[in-house]
Structure formats: C-alpha cells, structure tokens
Symmetry: C2
Subunit: 328 residues, 2 copies
C-alpha cells in the first residue's frame, strides 16, 4: 500500500496543480479518521492565503432538468476561454437517491478528459453538517490548485440548496419549460434564492414553450424583493446541445461579479459566509457530541415519541437532556 | 410584594380561563430566572393534554402593511363568531426596531377591551432561540386556557418568520398593492412559505391597484411548487376599515383546516413541529452553554476576525474550540 503523502508533499502537489494529489487531498478531507481530518485541516490552513480567487457558482435544479449536460457544456465553454474549471457535488441525501449525482463520471466525458478540469463526485452517505464543511474545504483546495471557476452541483430537492447558497458567490437555478408540474420537486424558497434562472433544453420544438416560461418567470421574479445586494435575477434560455445561451449566462455572471465587487457585496458576502461556516461547524460538532452521549441517546429513544405525540413539553425535555449531558 | 402562585394555583387559574393568571404564567415562561423557568416547564407539562385544540395562525408583513389593524378587525370577526382569540407576538429584533410590535396595546383597542380576547406583547431584547421556545410555551398555555384561535404576529423583516412558520398551522402574508418597492423589506423566501396572501387596505382608491396586484401575485404563486401538502395559496383582498374580505379569509383558513385534517397533514405537521421544537431548544441550549464558556469566548474574540478575513480555516477553529470546550 502506498504511503500517505505528508503535509509538505500535499501542499506542493496542490500548488503545482497536480490533479491526482488534489484528489487525494479531498479524500483526506472526506475521511472520517481523526488523524486524516487533522492533517486535512492543517493542509487547508497552510494554503489559505492562496484561496478565494475563483468564482464560486452553485447550480441546482430537479432531476431531469439536465444538470450534468448543462455543466458539461458550460464547463467546456469556460475551458475554451482558457479557464480552469472544477466541479464539486453536494448531496447529503445521496444514500436515498442512490447517489446518481456526479456519481457517473462518464456523464461528463469532455470535462473529465480535459486536464484543465477537475470533477469530484459527492461523498456518499454523510450528514449535511459534515458534507457542507467538507465541500467548503474541498473548494478551498481547488482554489489553491489554481482553478478559476468552481461549479458546485446540488439536487434541487433537499436541504443542500441552502448549504450551497451559503458557500457560493452566484446561485443558478435550472428550470424546465412547461411550468407547473415540473416544479413539484423543487423545494419552496429556492426560486427566491436564485441569482439567475436558466430554462434548459431550449431547442427545437421546445423553444416556444421555453420563451413562454421565460416571460412567466420574469413576471414572477419581478414581484420578489431585491434583497440587500440589489440584484434582479434574470431568466435566460439555454441549450446544452447547441450551446446557445451559454455565453450569455457567463456574461451575466461576469456582470454580477463586477457589480458586486464594485458595491462591496462580494467581499462582505464571503466574510459572512466564513462566519456562517464557523457557526455551522460548531453547531454540527456540538450536536454530534451530544447525540453520541449514551445517556442522551437512551433518554431520547425513550421520550422522543412522547414529544412527537404532544404528550411531553419539548422545552422541558431539552432542558433535562442538557443537564444529563453536562452532568459528567 | 405578592407571593408567586404555586403550580396548582397557576394550573387552576389557567384552566378556568383567568386572563390575569394566564398573563402571569407567560411572564413566568419569559423569565430568565432558572426557578421560574423550571416552574413554567412543569406548568406547561401539567397542562399538556389540554393543549393543541386551537387553530394557530402566523401573520407577517412589512411595517406599514397594517398588521395591527388587520389583527384588530380579523380578531373582532372571530369574537363575533363566538371564538376566543389570543394574539401573541414574536420579534427577536425588537431591541433594534424599538419594540413597536404589539408594544402599544392601545393599537388594538377593541380586542384589548374584550374578555374573550388575550393580547400579549413580545418580550423584548431576547435572542431568537429563546424567544421562539417561549412563544411556543405561551401558545400552549393559551390553548389550555381555552382560546380557539391563536394569532402569532411577526415583523416581516427578520429571521422570526421561519420560527413562526414552524409553530403555526397556517401562515398568512399581508401585502400592499403597488407591487415592487413595498416588497423590499420582506425577506426572500417568505412569499413561498405563505399559505395565503392578503392584500391589505383594499378600499377606496386602492381597490383597483389591489386587484391588479392580486392578478400579478396569483400568476407568480402559480409558478411555485405546491409542496408536500398540495395546497395552492390564494391571493385575497381585505380592508380592515370596511371589514370586506375578512370573512372570506377565515373561510379559506377553515377550508385549509378541513382539507389538512382530511389528508393527515395537520397532525403530521404538528408532530414534525414538536420534534423541530425539541431540536431547536437543544441547539439553542448547547450554543448558549458553549458561548458562556470563558475559554471559548476568549479564543473566539481572538480568532473570529481572522476567520472573517479568510486567514483561518473555519473548520479548524471549530474543532479547536470544541476540544477546548469539552476538555474540562
């Protein structure tokens, strides 16, 4: 078995843009072994001044919307412009949805084959609190390795959207034409989080329905509050097959970047995201320690159903559990 | 000074619908003294089988939308139907917004004067985690005191909307006609949480703009996902001055109740809310204990700014802080 690289070797490999070392480093980040996690944290820390220079883009949409073909085509466009592109995936529920998200690298053949691209499937079977922290560290490692654009893919059905929104600069929602039924899978609130809506598969017979959907969504978006950054999301059409619309989406993202860097939102948002990350991790680790406690587990098992049925005051049980936890 | 009532006296007073005792009990719930809190928890627990029979309605909207006049008029309608109505307020940011929310009881003169109504201003200057737990306990006490409808008011600008959504059966968003600018104060995502939208002040010259706004919002809502409960929120017009539209809003809420009780969502939602409450309280108490720790405080003070600037890996700091916290 190969010896694990040491800190200096990892660092050197990543700084030189070595994709194999980057991949091993992310495995380290995802490891549940404490010694691996400690080394991973050290590694991220040692590279931290070299992070932050990419554009971080979150991409979501229901299964069937064409996320992977979109990322393939959009990533290709960016590569052609001379950019280095990394694709990460976050999917805390992959154990339920059978882990299809980026699980099959062959879905992105062009990107996978290109040396300026890096594709990393989602770690499977992990809880959200853990996953989002790890994806954030993986993102920083990709930046230290010189990637200019990080695409973070998520399935539009779970809680991962908020987690992704909290780690990216720009949040893109992919939609299908023929509004209504297709939307049922999208979680409430996601549309309002989006910095841009893209109607995919806008080609052939689908162009007319796509145009109609664009108008409908634009009218809806118009009613949304602008939010603190004063950005009005637009609805754009795209075809991953013909490539139409992709250039305009990238332009829109560049507009966003320059506008937000101009008004200070870009950096203030990232600063807030870093504190949010700290907060998230503290909450996650506290919760983990709490739920590992055998006395807590026992009492929860015993009384949780009573809370659920409305027979036990949740505030009271919470207090009792905390006393139990801190007693020792 | 008056002696504090004991558990039996509190219990008896609440069960007999005594508003003075109810008010004192809620003061107990809101107290930061541990002995008060313990008694409050006991009291809620002792009455728990008598709770849960009301309809819990959350009401939100930006300042200026006319929340208090709406609640006054809507509450009056319910009183006229023979119902007992309690109004609670949740406002974790009241220390910032100068505590205007329900702070002035004279704003609801009719309700305040009526014995079948109970109005409780928001406790000021408290953190959300604490406030929402206390509002939930206050709600249960009101139910035990025989109130049929609980209206929970919140300002549409902060984080309290999600907290309220998580404790009510029906979530009502009040809006103004003349869509666009007026919306800027509403937090993103709230529109998608609403079970109904009501355009207020739909009287006089404002009727035509209100009708136009209704159409626009209906088109927008049509694009939203229905969610697991398969309920399509409607947009309704109301005038708190003339009373028009209020009866229809109540009808809509009654429809909701019978539909959701029929499909099982009502009870499954409440069960989920109870577990969410437990979860919330555990997280809140864990966080509170953590942030009270002097070593944690010192390190956070020292390193938080470094995280914010992107000089320190948040995951690493979180781990270090947790080690520090659990060391003792």
């Amino acid at each position: 078995m190969k010896k694990r690289l040491d800190l200096a070797e990892f660092k050197e490999g990543i700084r030189s843009g070595n994709r194999v070392v980057l991949s091993q480093a992310i495995t380290l980040v995802e490891s549940t072994l404490e010694s691996d996690q400690d080394l991973a944290s050290e590694l991220v820390q040692s590279l931290i001044t070299e992070t932050g220079k990419s554009i971080r883009i979150g991409i979501t949409g229901v299964p069937g919307v064409g996320k992977s073909t979109f990322i393939e085509a959009f990533g290709k466009l960016l590569l052609d412009q001379g950019k280095k592109v990394a694709v990460l995936a976050i999917d805390p529920s992959s154990q339920l949805t059978k882990g299809s998200i980026l699980g099959d690298k062959t879905r992105m053949e062009t990107l996978s084959a290109d040396k300026r691209a890096f594709i990393r499937p989602s770690p499977s079977g992990a809880a959200l609190g853990g996953v989002s922290g790890r994806t954030r560290e993986a993102m920083l490692l990709c930046e230290a390795a010189g990637f200019d654009v990080i695409l973070v893919e998520t399935v539009g059905v779970g809680q991962s959207e908020t987690a992704v929104k909290n780690m990216v600069d720009f949040f893109l929602l992919l939609m299908l034409a023929g509004a209504g039924d297709e939307l049922q899978g999208i979680k409430k609130g996601i549309m309002e989080m989006a910095d841009a809506l893209v109607i995919t598969k806008a080609d052939g017979e689908n162009i007319e329905p796509a145009k109609k959907a664009k108008v409908a969504y634009e009218n809806a978006l118009h009613l949304f509050p602008l939010g603190e950054k004063h950005w009005s999301p637009k609805v754009q059409l795209a075809s991953s097959t013909s490539g139409s619309g992709l250039r305009e989406i990238w332009q829109r993202i560049e507009n966003y970047e320059s506008q937000m860097k101009g008004n200070g939102f870009w950096e203030s948002n990232r600063a807030a995201q870093r504190l949010n990350w700290l907060d998230d991790q503290i909450q996650f680790l506290l919760g983990q320690a709490f739920l590992k406690d055998s006395l807590v587990q026992k009492m929860l098992l015993d009384r949780r159903a009573k809370v659920q049925k409305g027979e036990l005051n949740p505030s009271k049980l919470a207090k009792t559990l905390l006393q139990l936890f801190f007693q020792k």
